[in-house]
Symmetry: C2
């Protein structure tokens, strides 16, 4: 037969689109460049806008694109390597690692956190909020849960709340001896408050890094940090400059 094998394996349109766009990004666009808008791209490829969006969503998930409402779709720079677990075993706030205390108050933690901290169900704990800024961008938001028993000498008079109190809690925590820590990473979606801090929409994909700090045989603190999954590559160990990435990258003029 003279027929070429058309769609004998019906690859989804959005998948094929994604491939085509991905190659175009490598060869025809520079980092920071603005793509044509969705309606035009859809028309150009002869698909419905929803289908085009499905392809764009995937590319954004992979960190190739950045979309902003009211602005447009731009070509994203390669993901930045963000070091997690500097030097292995240190209390939070010890190193100058880009974490900035935001505020702190006393609140009842979620049930799952209370369980990990081995505190009573209704016992309030210190909740320290911090945000991490790298290369001028907020890449992570953290909630650090510290049981009152972990910082017994904290004076309530110092500051009732706010960044000053956050620093005080961290300072008291660092006076204890850190036995060990363990960490886990999983995929999540940004809660409304985290999303705002990270300059993303609610539900945006994030990498949730949970760290448990152990001192004197007990969980002395629990950190839940949410990193922007689109722009961050979490690195562990010495050098964080390994670049495993797609093709050529140029800079927008």
């Amino acid at each position: 037969m003279g027929t070429t094998q058309l769609e004998s394996v019906p690859e989804p349109k959005y998948w094929h689109l994604k491939t085509v766009l991905s190659e175009a990004l490598d060869s025809e666009f520079a980092v920071g460049e603005i793509l044509p808008n969705e309606r035009e791209l859809a028309a150009r490829f002869g698909v419905a806008r929803a289908t085009l969006r499905q392809a764009l969503e995937q590319l954004e998930l992979e960190g190739r694109l950045q979309r902003r409402r009211g602005v447009g779709t731009t070509v994203a720079p390669p993901r930045m390597g963000v070091d997690v677990g500097t030097g292995g075993q240190v209390w939070p706030g010890t190193a100058d690692d880009g974490w900035q205390p935001v505020d702190c108050d006393l609140a009842q933690p979620p049930a799952a956190v209370a369980e990990a901290l081995e505190t009573g169900r209704d016992e309030p704990v210190h909740v320290v909020r911090r945000s991490r800024v790298t290369h001028g961008q907020t890449v992570a938001a953290e909630l650090l849960y510290v049981p009152q028993s972990s910082v017994p000498e904290l004076s309530a008079i110092d500051a009732p709340s706010g960044a000053a109190r956050a620093r005080a809690v961290l300072r008291e925590l660092q006076r204890r001896e850190l036995e060990s820590q363990d960490r886990s990473v999983e995929l999540g979606s940004a809660r409304a408050d985290d999303a705002k801090e990270l300059d993303r929409l609610p539900g945006a994909p994030v990498l949730v890094v949970t760290t448990r700090f152990v001192a004197e045989g007990r969980t002395a603190a629990l950190s839940v940090a949410t990193y922007r999954a689109d722009t961050c590559r979490l690195t562990f160990g010495a050098t964080g400059d390994v670049e495993i990435h797609h093709g050529p990258e140029r800079q927008a003029s």
Copy 2:
């Protein structure tokens, strides 16, 4: 005024839906239970099917649901903790960690990999494929790139390819002294082949763990492992049984 504050902050429908469903999952459904189908759920909530699907997608991303074409939507068990980086610094294949060699052949690596390996552009390297099985489920697929210079004594006669050769490459690799290794984690989407191995659709969200093995000052091997993001929580360090999770969970009868 007698008006209640209706939608003064117009929260998206799918977002609200997600919240409602999430609570229902906690209180009214058991792990493994099958939800009503999408058309019925959409009708029940009075939304279009696409909107309902947007909520389900998010819940699946968070590991709360599992959807299978032709079958239905089921309540997912809590994510399993998968240890990454057992004992810190060991060659792949040393520990009994659930990794199984699949096959191996000589191929030209992607440009980015060749760069990290510091091999010549067109120089073929050993590509070992392995898959990791935990609790009876394939949770990860790996491509391990090993330059020929890292396993100089590998005899070509042993086996031309296949699992036997994969084991041979690993064995030779383990004879060298491992200096250090560094690792990074980022979000990706499954390529077609990985997706098949992981029993997911192409484009499914995965956690990509890249490990660089250093021996004699050079990158002796590079591992790119893709983990199912929906079912896995990657753990680092001693105990991997910290459970930071949502509400109550029951078991399906």
